[in-house]
Structures are given as structure tokens and as C-alpha cells.
Symmetry: C2
Subunit: 339 residues, 2 copies
């Protein structure tokens, strides 16, 4: 392995000069700088990451905590992860992958051993046991999702309350008077997952505000469960004509179930999904949907983190406003002129 001393010797300068050329932290004459750069190239020098981290107290590594909990939609998680890695690289940082199995202790471990110098934590629950740990940690962190009490934290999330409300408004605008929310598996609600909880809140509040019926039910991922849930729903509330789905994996089977039950989409049943755009566009018919801007949120998370690392200020809570794209799965219902 070639060291900074080798480069210095090759270029005929001191090691510290090489360091300053590389970091740009002191002015170096053009002549010297170019000579050093040529030596770096010629020798194929790569600074040793550990030595650098030890001396500078900066590892240039971010931790990314991905809890692979049951009921979470994996492709969306990966979109976040990819965005985080890509953006981190843009700021010359690498990403250490932590899974949830390690729990709060894992966070302490990587933080206190200086393995990383900041953390991105995904899929935060309303009462998350990692939150108090993050508050105490001697390094910055950013949460994707947010707990009940976001004080002293930096959180970024899609505004799921608004997302739920948008779906209701869209359907109500089209004249639908009876709506249902087909939610996530009940395990997700039971562990007080923010996004599920908040979508539900937005849905219920908007339904009330618009004076329409808004019923909600969790829904598991198996075909049988979907079939049963929908049958139950339609027998309890036969007048339902608008469905909101926040549960990406069930979208395919759900369309199938509706077909089986003889409900055409959108003629008999309008459908709005909260899912990635490409998923919505892949269905037949294409789905009206509120998209989940995973890439944007992941980017934003890393940018905030870097800002904090550099001593800057960032807002405690950033809510990304949702956008609804109308496609082929929703259509007007009833006599709009009387509405």
C-alpha cells in the first residue's frame, strides 16, 4: 500500500503538504500542487480511511438503519436506501447498513465507536424506543418518518395526513359519498406506525369534513384475506363506490378480487392508491394515485444530515406535500349537478 509519505517523497515535499493539497485547507502554489497531483496519480495513492478518520475525528460514513418489519413494503424501502446511498456518495460519504435486529444498542455501538459520524433512521414509529437513544447520541441524526414528539430531532416524511385527505377529496369531488380505506396489515397499526396512523387520520377527518361516509379496515397481504376483507366490507356497506388503498402489495390481487366480485374499475368502483408511480402505471387500468417520493425524501434526509454535520441549522420537521395524479381508476359518480 502506498502511503502519504511515499507520495511526499516522490513529489519532493513534506507529507503535510500532500495532505493540504488533497484537502485544500491551506493555499499551495500551483507549481507544487500540480507536482503532488502528478505523484498521487503516478503512484495510485489512496488515503487510508482509518488513519484519516482517526486523525480528523471524521469517518465519512453514515449509518442507515433499515428495519425490515413485517408488513412493510420492501421495494419502497430499497428506493429510500438507494437514494440515501447515492446522495451520500455525492457528499463523499459511505453508508453502513444496520438492520433493526440490533435495536437501540446497535445505534449506540456504531455511534460510540466512531464507526459512523451521523445516522439516518427509517420507518420510525410513533413511540419509538430508538428515539430517546438518538437524542442522547453525540452525533447528528435524521429520521425518515417521525414520532409523536419530534422535539430536538430532525424528521422528514411525506405528509400522510394530507395524503389520506387528498384521496378523500378527489373521490368526493367526483361525487362519491361512501368511501373505504383499505389499510395496512393490522400489525402495522398495532405497533403504532406513523404513516399508517396518519393516513387513517387524514382519511377520517376529510370524510367528516366532506360529509361522506368513511369506513376503514386493515388488510393483510394474502389473496384470501383480501377477498374476505373486501366481501365483508361490501356486505356491511353495499353503497361504497370509492376505495383508498395504502398497501402496495395488495394492489394486484385487489384488482383481481374486484373483478371476481363483478365490480368494474372504475365504472362500479373508483380506486385511489398511495403507492409508487411506476406501480400505479403498471396496473390495468392505471391507478389514480398519491405517489411516495422516496428518492426525494432520501436525498433530503442526507442533505439535512450533511448540513448538521457542518454545523448548519435544519428544520425539526419537514413534511413533503403529497401530489395526487388522476389516472384511469377513478371516475365521477352519481349526478354531480345536484352535489
Amino acid at each position: 500500500m502506498v502511503t502519504i509519505a511515499d507520495v511526499a517523497r516522490h513529489a519532493g515535499v513534506a507529507a503535510s503538504t500532500v495532505s493540504y493539497v488533497l484537502s485544500g485547507k491551506r493555499t499551495i502554489s500551483t507549481d507544487t500542487r500540480e507536482r503532488v497531483q502528478r505523484s498521487v496519480h503516478a503512484l495510485g495513492y489512496r488515503p487510508n480511511a482509518s488513519a484519516r478518520a482517526l486523525a480528523s475525528q471524521r469517518s465519512n460514513v453514515l449509518a442507515l438503519v433499515i428495519p425490515l418489519r413485517t408488513g412493510m413494503h420492501v421495494p419502497v424501502m430499497m428506493q429510500f436506501a438507494t437514494a440515501v446511498v447515492t446522495t451520500a456518495r455525492r457528499f463523499d460519504h459511505d453508508v453502513l447498513l444496520l438492520t433493526a435486529d440490533e435495536g437501540p444498542d446497535g445505534l449506540e455501538r456504531v455511534a460510540q465507536s466512531s464507526l459512523v459520524d451521523a445516522l439516518v433512521v427509517m420507518d420510525v414509529e410513533l413511540h419509538d424506543e430508538r428515539v430517546p437513544v438518538l437524542r442522547e447520541l453525540p452525533m447528528p441524526s435524521v429520521l425518515i418518518g417521525y414520532p409523536d414528539d419530534a422535539d430536538g430531532l430532525t424528521c422528514i416524511d411525506l405528509d400522510f395526513v394530507a395524503a389520506g385527505a387528498h384521496c378523500v377529496d378527489h373521490l368526493a369531488d367526483l361525487g362519491h359519498r361512501s368511501l373505504a380505506l383499505l389499510g395496512t396489515p393490522s400489525a402495522v397499526y398495532e405497533r403504532q406506525t406513523g404513516f399508517a396512523q396518519r393516513t387513517l387520520t387524514g382519511f377520517v377527518e376529510a370524510a367528516e369534513r366532506r360529509g361522506v361516509l368513511g369506513v376503514e379496515t386493515p388488510c393483510e397481504h394474502t389473496f384470501d384475506a383480501i377477498l374476505h376483507t373486501v366481501e365483508q366490507l361490501l356486505s356491511d356497506h353495499p353503497d361504497i363506490t370509492g376505495l383508498v388503498v395504502q398497501n402496495e402489495p395488495i394492489i394486484g390481487p385487489l384488482l383481481d378480487v374486484l373483478r371476481r366480485l363483478g365490480r368494474r374499475v372504475p365504472e362500479d368502483m373508483s380506486l385511489v392508491a398511495i403507492c409508487a408511480d411506476d406501480v400505479a402505471e403498471r396496473q390495468v387500468p392505471q391507478l389514480s394515485s398519491v405517489s411516495i417520493p422516496a428518492e426525494r425524501i432520501g436525498d433530503q434526509a442526507v442533505e439535512s444530515l450533511i448540513t448538521k454535520l457542518e454545523g448548519g441549522e435544519v428544520p425539526s420537521l419537514t413534511l413533503v406535500p403529497p401530489t395526487l395524479t388522476a389516472r384511469g381508476s377513478t371516475c365521477p359518480h352519481g349526478d354531480l349537478t345536484t352535489a
Copy 2:
């Protein structure tokens, strides 16, 4: 931050003694050892990862390279990744996440800067540009998947040739004489992806060996593409009664398409999938399938890597034998007694 010197002072010993207590590399008297351990606890000492890495020339970090290529099935990738992280932690290692965007340069970067001390590379193509780089790198690596020329490498993969053959054998044993392989999107074949290529080979060879018709076609992920592909297939070969699917995302829509086309599964059409068990069990009917043992392969990859790090020998190519589980999507065809 509390350092090893603080612990040494607190325990009334030399820093090196603390180090030896922690690493166990020299014998320490029970008395001293316990005193040191108490001090470690009392002060909440965590060794600094960079300092340790610098002094010992070992970062205790593995790189995991996940190429998120188009057409790959993300949940399966994540299963691999999770297994890798979990097993790495078992061996006291952490995992640095690299995406494919970085390409071969990324491998060199993390390796030559001593950021990691070994690499796990996923989704290897037959002619993979990362392979020559890996061969030259001054540190061990393990590939999940394997290139044409696996010499000097360590590769682990499901035996996809056998997987393809198993599917054919299963269907042929049931009396089916005309089979089709519904493959991955054509992009996957075009970039010479090992697992797709090899499944195809196994399928074709087995069909020949069994003297049955075996046609194959790529298949994209959209509903329309699936519908069109299957219609074309059945109009070209109306006598097909057995389908092999190696393309997890299309399984749901495919069942739907077959229903639309009036082909009952398994009465009119037997179906074998190559997919994760939980996906197979979630369908109606449950699918006969060859499972993808992601966890086992991920584990194995890390174990081999650790063995190599410790100077041990591991086989160049480990092929995990596939197992086929018969479920409700396949049934006998024709008069078996005459076969």
C-alpha cells in the same frame, strides 16, 4: 469519549493490558481481567473503530455490493442483504452498502482505502466487468452468482441449471408433454445474467432429455405484456399444459391472465414457479415451486468470506442444490399408464 488509557488508569494497569483483556490474545490473570472488565463497564468504554482498524490493519467491515438492475426482484435482493448483515454481525463485522452505480471503481475505492477488508458481490453476470477487478484486489471477496470463468474466485449460487431441470422433470413425471418457460424480462438475458441463462439451459436440456416440447420466452412485468406473451404462446403452441415461471413479480398477474383466458390452474394448466416459498404459498392455488434459499446463500457467503479472512481455504464454486415443493398448482396430465 473514554479511551483505553482512561480504562487503564481506572483499573491501575497498562493500556496494553486492557487491550489484551479485550482481545484475549495473551493470558491475563483472573484478578486483573475482572478488574479491567469492571472498569470497562464502569466507564462505558467503547474502543474507537478507526484507531483499532489503523493499528490492526483490520476494519471489521465487509462491503456488500447490491446492483439494483432493472428486472431484478427487489425483495429477494433484500433477503440476501439481510442475511449478509445478520451473519456478518455474528462474526463481529459490519456491512458497508455499495450500489452498482459506483461500478468497478467503487470496489477499488473501498478496498484500497482499507475502508473494508472483504467484499460480497451480488448479482454477478456471466461476463462481469467487476470480476477482473476483484481478482486483482488485495483482499478476499465472495460472489453471489458466478461468471463464466470462476477461476481464482469464490462463488456461491443456487444451482439454477438443476432448478430448471427439476421443473421440467416434475412436469414430465406428471405426464405433461409440452412445456413453456416464462422467463425474465429480455433485458436480463441481454446482459447475460447467470441465473436466467442457466435456468434456461437446464430447462432446455431437461426437455430434450425427457423428449418433451420445451419452448421459452422472456416476459416483461406489465400486465399487458404478460397477457400478450401468454396469448402468443398459447396460440403458437396450443398443446402446452405445463408452465415454468422464473419471474417472481409476474406470478400474481399471470394467474389472473390464465383465469381470463379460461385456463384453470392446475386442471388445464400446471404451473411451477422458481420463487420464495412465502410467495408460492400466498397464491391461490398455492404454487408448486423451487425455492430460492436466499438466507442460506447469504449466510454461506459471509461464512466463506470470514474463513478466507482467517486464511482458510474455501471451494471456488458452491452450488446449492434446489428443492422442489409440490403444491396445488400442478397435477397429472393425460394417461400416465401409457407414458
